[in-house]
């Protein structure tokens, strides 16, 4: 490992909650892959542009696991996002199995069938919100409960238990590894209980479906423990990111009143508005570690087995060679390229159709229902709490009308 003390030091500071850290652009101008130092002092490669970020996401020679996890380079202490996850020997096979069972469950057609239900849920939550006396916290009363309710219903978490997941999620993603590990243990205990229960009495939910598929197709890798682990990650992945996109989409539209008006006047703009929200919102300074599964060369760089490359959806989305004036929020943008917010290749977000439907419902309704919606605090006061740094997002979004 190089001892170059001049390496750019992560994390790069951000000017505010909406804009990307300016530190990435000069590196992009240098090379597709640049050496940087992580917050924990490990020297790693950073993918600096749209094409290389997508390439890293999609290259099967780069995985999430590490042959020797104890000695792997880390981005942070975060249990979930900071370093390698999973088992090096079985990662690829297990991932194929997971995709095989989850892909049909989250297909675009099935998610489209959910649209009316999501619309009803959203309408009733907005009705409740309207009963409150402003200012209110949009995050707590709308952005969070909507996706959380939808994913919990799909997976089969009953209503009284849903708040526990909110608390576990917060601990799971924190920098306190011991507490994060304990939260994972508690969550897994809960989802193991679900699996045991559905084995006895199947219900109309995803956990029951997964048990049935594993048995019908004799999928040995899909043990009860594995199904419980998938359920945990689905509840978590199925709401955290969507919650943030609702908050940030709202914020972006509040900051661009002319585009907000255009969207209210012409609801058919909602699909492209959602794509632009997905591209332009940066709820977290996302840096995903990938580890070389073998020795190979990429963009003139020789990687050795176990070497770490960081890739980032937001760095990709803010590449000015792919998106003209990338920091401009523009729902009328007609980009030549798709944003990278759901990743790329075999790891492309399995829940993307669900997320898109939720966001399309939200941004077809929110500003229609609250035509005078505005921030209840100065924009400059909004911040991403340090304890949420690895998952990102806002703790609250105070609004009034």
């Amino acid at each position: 490992m190089t001892m170059d003390t001049e390496l750019p030091q992560l994390p790069f500071p951000r000017p505010n909650v909406l804009d990307i850290a300016p530190g990435y652009k000069p590196l992009r101008d240098r090379a597709p892959l640049v050496r940087v130092r992580t917050a924990l002092g490990d020297d790693v490669w950073l993918a600096t542009g749209y094409h290389i970020c997508k390439q890293v996401f999609g290259d099967a020679r780069l995985g999430r696991s590490h042959p020797d996890p104890g000695n792997a380079a880390r981005v942070s202490a975060s249990l979930m996002f900071g370093g390698p996850t999973g088992d090096f020997a079985t990662e690829e096979q297990l991932h194929r199995t997971q995709r095989k069972v989850l892909t049909p469950a989250f297909s675009a057609r099935r998610m489209r069938q959910l649209k009316d239900h999501v619309t009803e849920l959203s309408a009733s939550m907005l009705d409740e919100l309207a009963q409150r006396r402003p200012p209110v916290d949009l995050h707590a009363h709308f952005s969070f409960p909507l996706p959380n309710t939808v994913i919990c219903q799909l997976i089969g978490v009953p209503e009284p238990d849903r708040d526990s997941f909110r608390l576990w999620s917060g601990r799971f993603t924190s920098n306190d590894q011991a507490d994060a590990a304990q939260a994972v243990g508690e969550m897994l205990g809960y989802t193991m209980g679900m699996v045991a229960d559905r084995r006895k009495s199947p219900q109309d939910d995803l956990v029951s479906d997964l048990i049935a598929i594993a048995a019908a197709e004799n999928l040995e890798l899909l043990t009860d423990h594995e199904i419980a682990d998938m359920a945990l990650h689905l509840v978590f992945g199925g709401h955290e990111s969507t919650v943030s996109r609702i908050d940030f989409g709202t914020l972006l539209l509040l900051r661009h009143p002319e585009q907000r008006k255009a969207l209210v006047d012409d609801p058919s703009l909602v699909e492209q508005a959602v794509e632009e929200i997905l591209r332009r919102s940066i709820p977290v300074d996302d840096l995903f570690p990938r580890y070389a599964r073998e020795d190979f060369e990429i963009e003139g760089v020789t990687l050795r087995k176990g070497d770490c490359v960081l890739t980032s959806t937001s760095v990709a989305n803010m590449d000015d060679r792919t998106f003209a004036d990338p920091e401009r929020f523009d729902i009328f943008r007609k980009p030549d390229a798709s944003h990278a917010s759901f990743g790329h290749g075999m790891h492309y977000c399995v829940g993307n159709a669900l997320a898109r439907i939720e966001l399309q419902v939200v941004f077809s309704m929110l500003f229609q229902r609250f035509p005078t919606l505005e921030l209840a605090v100065p924009f400059e006061e909004l911040h991403i709490p340090i304890e949420r740094r690895w998952i990102g997002g806002l703790d609250e979004l105070p609004v009034t009308w």
Binding site: G58, R99, K100, T103, P104, A105, F106, S107, A108, R109, M111, S338, F342, G343, H344, G345, M346, Y348, C349, V350, N352, A353, R356
Partner: protein, 64 residues
């Protein structure tokens, strides 16, 4: 226009179905891409092109 899709490359994102639901679907059992119209009418060409371009695993080919 002639549309084809490589089912082995497909990762089942469903992005094509979201972009061009008249031309593409996903298998009910496996979520893998199914081409509904191999020679779509002109009104669907633009969406089909976007679907091919936006596929996260480059599984869709279009010959014009």
């Amino acid at each position: 226009m002639r549309v084809s899709a490589d089912q082995d490359l497909c990762v089942g994102s469903g992005k094509c179905v979201q972009t061009s639901g008249e031309v593409f679907d996903q298998g009910e059992e496996d979520g893998v891409v199914v081409v509904l119209q191999h020679t779509p009418s002109e009104q669907h060409h633009e969406a089909a092109r976007r679907a091919a371009h936006g596929c996260p695993s480059a599984a869709i080919s279009i010959i014009e």
